[in-house]
């Protein structure tokens, strides 16, 4: 049994994965807590007071009646909330099963789903699954609100097992899908103000016994007159000799999100056992991930490809920037991730599928707008502050300072050399010498930040 080598770099890694990265002062503070204190400060986030942040957020007056407004609202939370893991977990659930605004056509329903994901983010998995299964946006997104005893709709029942709780290869059958769909009949909507040309805003959950199938159903080998909650209970407690299948499914997905994809059976089994012994607690699985030595190994670090959303948020947070996330929202489509509007129920693929030459330029364009914004509105940072109080007398010192700020110090020597050459370069490309003047900071430090934000190193968290 190895133990965690708790270093400042380990703390920075933890903050990148459990949140969206942080300023040097945040990393220092996290490091000073020690491993268990640091993990607890992130995982047991209810003790962190958010009142002042919430009032600051409210004062920004994002128009949460529009898609654009709730995108800004969520991006702001990810960048500025004093509870990084609360927002990272909400983002995890967003990737896991968010419903698409294009079909749901109800901004308020999508916002409410996001709030539900946040409220139950680290609770008992069963509670969240029930809440999402009764969530109006989800009921529209996967059609369960249309499912009736006379003609059940299997869409949600299938995805509930395939995408959300068990996995396609877990061993359930088409019969199980059909039977779960029957159990879920009756979980529907009162449509509120919805009309064909309007949207579903105002729709509320209704458990309507008149359209529920009251016959006997056999789900994963268990027979009874199951309702939706009982079907979910059967699904989440479906076990083999190694424990619940839902525990291993969720553990693998959480590990893939926080550490790396395709974890070993050993890792999945260990985390699944914690899920089982802790009463299906998501919090205890996440805590165990962050306390595990494997999480801090070199092969775990710098392997996660930042999604467009994480990319936009991390650069603001790590440079202590100011943003209304307007430019980020404008870029989401070109970067390939329209927040709250995934293409389908599976959501976005992770990893290198985010990256192509077009999305790369879209990211670079966003960062260029950020790095070169010298105005008093929009997304911006204080270039001079990056060097304040530090020895910035030579190009290599500036490069190392900014690289450390962005947590990308470990790059190949050629890359560091290219950055240093850039800092020293005259406009005609000839070699000059960096001097720490306000004019040079405005020109070269902003240029360097843009370069570093568009380097392969920064695409990875």
């Amino acid at each position: 049994m190895t133990s965690v080598n708790w270093t400042r770099d380990a703390a920075a890694h933890l903050l990148r994965r459990a949140g969206f990265g942080g300023a040097p002062s945040e990393i220092d503070a996290l490091y000073a807590k020690g491993l268990e204190g640091a993990v607890s400060s992130l995982v047991d986030y209810e003790s962190i007071d958010v009142a002042s942040y919430e009032s600051a957020l409210a004062a920004k007056n994002y128009n949460i009646l529009t898609t654009r407004g709730i995108q800004q609202w969520f991006l702001d939370r990810m960048a500025y909330s004093p509870r990084p893991l609360e927002e990272k977990m909400t983002y995890f659930w967003n990737l896991h099963w968010t419903s698409g605004i294009a079909k749901v056509r109800g901004v308020t329903l999508i916002l409410n789903q996001n709030k539900t994901e946040r409220q139950y983010a680290l609770g008992k998995f069963d509670d969240l699954v029930v809440r999402i299964s009764q969530d109006p946006a989800m009921l529209v997104w996967l059609d369960n609100w249309l499912s009736q005893a006379a003609h059940p709709n299997e869409n949600y029942a299938r995805e509930l097992m395939e995408l959300f709780t068990l996995g396609v290869d877990s061993g359930y059958t088409q019969d199980d899908v059909t039977q779960v769909a029957r159990a879920l009949t009756g979980w529907t909507l009162v449509r509120g103000s919805y009309t064909q040309t309007d949207n579903y805003n105002g729709a509320t959950f209704q458990d309507n016994p008149a359209i529920h199938d009251n016959g006997a159903k056999t789900i994963l080998g268990k027979t009874g007159n199951w309702n939706g909650a009982e079907a979910i209970d059967i699904i989440l407690n479906w076990s083999d000799s190694r424990g619940t299948k839902s525990g291993r499914f969720l553990a693998a997905k959480l590990w893939s999100f926080f550490a790396y994809e395709n974890p070993s059976d050993y890792v999945v089994g260990q985390l699944g056992a914690i899920y089982d012994s802790a009463g299906h607690s998501v919090r205890e699985v996440v805590r165990a991930i962050f306390l595990s030595p494997e999480f801090y190994e070199a092969h775990t670090r710098k392997t996660w490809v930042r999604s467009p959303v994480e990319y936009a948020v991390a650069q603001v947070r790590m440079l202590e920037g100011t943003s209304d996330f307007s430019s980020a929202v404008n870029s989401l489509s070109a970067m390939g991730q329209i927040l709250f509007n995934p293409e389908d129920a599976k959501g976005w693929d992770w990893g290198t599928s985010w990256m192509n030459t077009g999305t790369l330029f879209a990211r670079a364009s966003l960062s260029n707008t950020y790095a070169t914004n010298r105005g008093s509105t929009g997304t911006r940072f204080d270039a001079g502050k990056l060097l304040a109080g530090k020895d910035a007398s030579t190009a290599d010192k500036v490069v190392d300072l900014v690289a450390d700020r962005l947590n990308i110090s470990e790059v190949p020597p050629d890359v560091r050399a290219a950055w240093i050459a850039y800092m020293n370069a005259n406009d005609d490309g000839s070699r000059g010498a960096w001097t720490n003047t306000a004019a040079n900071v405005d020109k070269k430090v902003r240029g360097l930040v843009h370069l570093m934000l568009t380097s392969p190193a920064f695409y990875l968290a």
Binding site: T303, T352, T359, D414
Partner: protein, 429 residues
């Protein structure tokens, strides 16, 4: 004449000397594709033009002798006198737009007169969704059940191009990636104009821009010795700059052989012609043009009225083929249009039309069997919503392009049972 592989290599080699960068993917990707479909089909490009919002087919290809048309469209319909006749029953919208005298679809009529246009009537799918979003997704994926994740041409690209890594094999001139081109293994850049397909630098210090671009290439070139993911993305910046550089280069000094209209579609079609003439192995080029959701004032005479939109579409296509002719490329290019639905037969009270179902679409190029496929729309046998019935399933429309133009196994991409519509000339099949 179709390009042989040898021609391709010669041309691209000559081109590379201009850009001073070796596009490793441009040659390798074409070779792989050529080996799978043969040299002639390997030189082909499909251009897809998406008319966003739901184009009103009844005011595009007009059943001008049908009395029912004059009745249901008494307010906003196209008078028989303003129709460019294609047959005894159908004609193209020939309305002039304010500020000009060109009939809206004179450009397409000119191409029709040269036997380069096929019109497929009544395209749609059963139980049409009247939602823009659902119907667009259905058209994008070629799957009314929406179970498919990838687009229909994304599935084609995965099968035909695979991991060629050519960043210009499929390109979308579009704000975001159209789902039609969503693939597992083929990376498809999307951009509205070349200004955004470039590494932008600090406008306050233009003199430092070249340093930044050079440094961007340098930092993207070194394979990082950490994990597989890193080496995959570390070369991307270099490919991006190389492909951007090629496009910017081919653009400078390009002499257009057609009169493209001003505006986004003309610019997009010009860019597509430039990409084709760059000989970089572009196979699918996709362009979007919006504004067709004409719920109100459809007949206004300005450029954004329906007639004005059709003028832009028609003139853009005409300019594009003139341009291809001037560059000797028409033989290698087929263009097809689509839109998420047609519009309601009966106009509404706002001089507009609501969401409908089937509509005619255009296939343009030397390779078409010219003519009209299907009957004039049946205006008196509507569904319960007052919409047209379907004559040709959109999967037949797609499948004919896949099998006869792209030489693909259309059943593997669309499922089987979709009749071939025969609008590709046998000499090309």
């Amino acid at each position: 004449m179709p390009l042989s592989r040898r021609d391709f290599l010669l041309r691209s080699a000559g081109f590379v000397s201009v850009s001073a960068m070796v596009p490793r993917w441009a040659v390798a990707g074409t070779r792989m594709f050529e080996e799978s479909v043969g040299a002639e089909a390997a030189s082909r490009t499909l251009v897809v033009l998406e008319l966003m919002g739901g184009n009103d087919g009844l005011n595009t290809v007009i059943p001008y002798t049908d009395n029912a048309y004059a009745q249901v469209r008494s307010r906003i319909g196209i008078q028989a006198a303003s129709v460019l006749q294609l047959s005894a029953k159908l004609g193209l919208n020939g309305m002039a737009v304010s500020g000009g005298t060109t009939p809206a679809m004179a450009g397409l009529k000119a191409l029709w007169d040269k036997n380069r246009v096929a019109i497929v009537e009544g395209i749609g799918y059963p139980n049409s969704s009247l939602s823009h979003f659902s119907s667009r997704d259905i058209w994008h994926t070629a799957d009314p059940t929406l179970a498919q994740r990838r687009g229909w041409l994304g599935r084609w690209a995965d099968a035909a191009i695979g991991n060629s890594a050519n960043p210009l094999s499929c390109v979308a001139i579009s704000q975001s990636l159209p789902r039609t081109l969503l693939a597992d293994n083929v990376s498809v850049p999307s951009f509205v104009d070349l200004a955004t397909y470039a590494y932008r630098t600090d406008g306050a210090y233009p003199g430092d821009g070249k340093n930044q671009v050079n440094t961007f290439v340098a930092q993207s070139s070194d394979p990082y010795e950490i994990e597989n993911t890193v080496s995959t993305i570390s070369g991307l910046g270099k490919d991006a700059i190389a492909s951007s550089d090629i496009l910017q280069t081919v653009r400078s000094g390009y002499v257009a052989g057609g009169a493209y209209p001003s505006g986004s579609l003309g610019a997009g079609m010009l860019l597509i012609a430039q990409i084709i003439n760059a000989n970089v192995g572009a196979r699918i080029l996709y362009v979007t043009f919006g504004g067709f959701d004409n719920h109100a004032d459809e007949d206004n005479t300005g450029p954004n009225g329906h007639n004005g939109l059709l003028l832009t579409v028609s003139e853009s296509i005409k300019a594009f083929f003139d341009d291809l002719d001037a560059h000797g490329k028409s033989h290698d290019v087929l263009l097809m249009t689509w839109s998420e639905f047609g519009r309601r037969v009966q106009d509404n009270a706002s001089r507009g039309t609501d969401h409908g179902t089937s509509a005619p679409h255009f296939v343009v190029g030397d390779a078409v069997n010219p003519g009209i496929y299907g009957d004039p729309p049946g205006l008196t046998s509507l569904d319960r919503n007052g919409n047209l019935t379907i004559q040709n399933d959109f999967r037949s429309y797609y499948g004919t392009v896949l099998s006869d133009w792209l030489k693909a196994d259309s059943a593997a991409i669309l499922g089987s049972g979709w009749p071939n519509l025969g609008f590709v000339n046998k000499a090309y099949i």
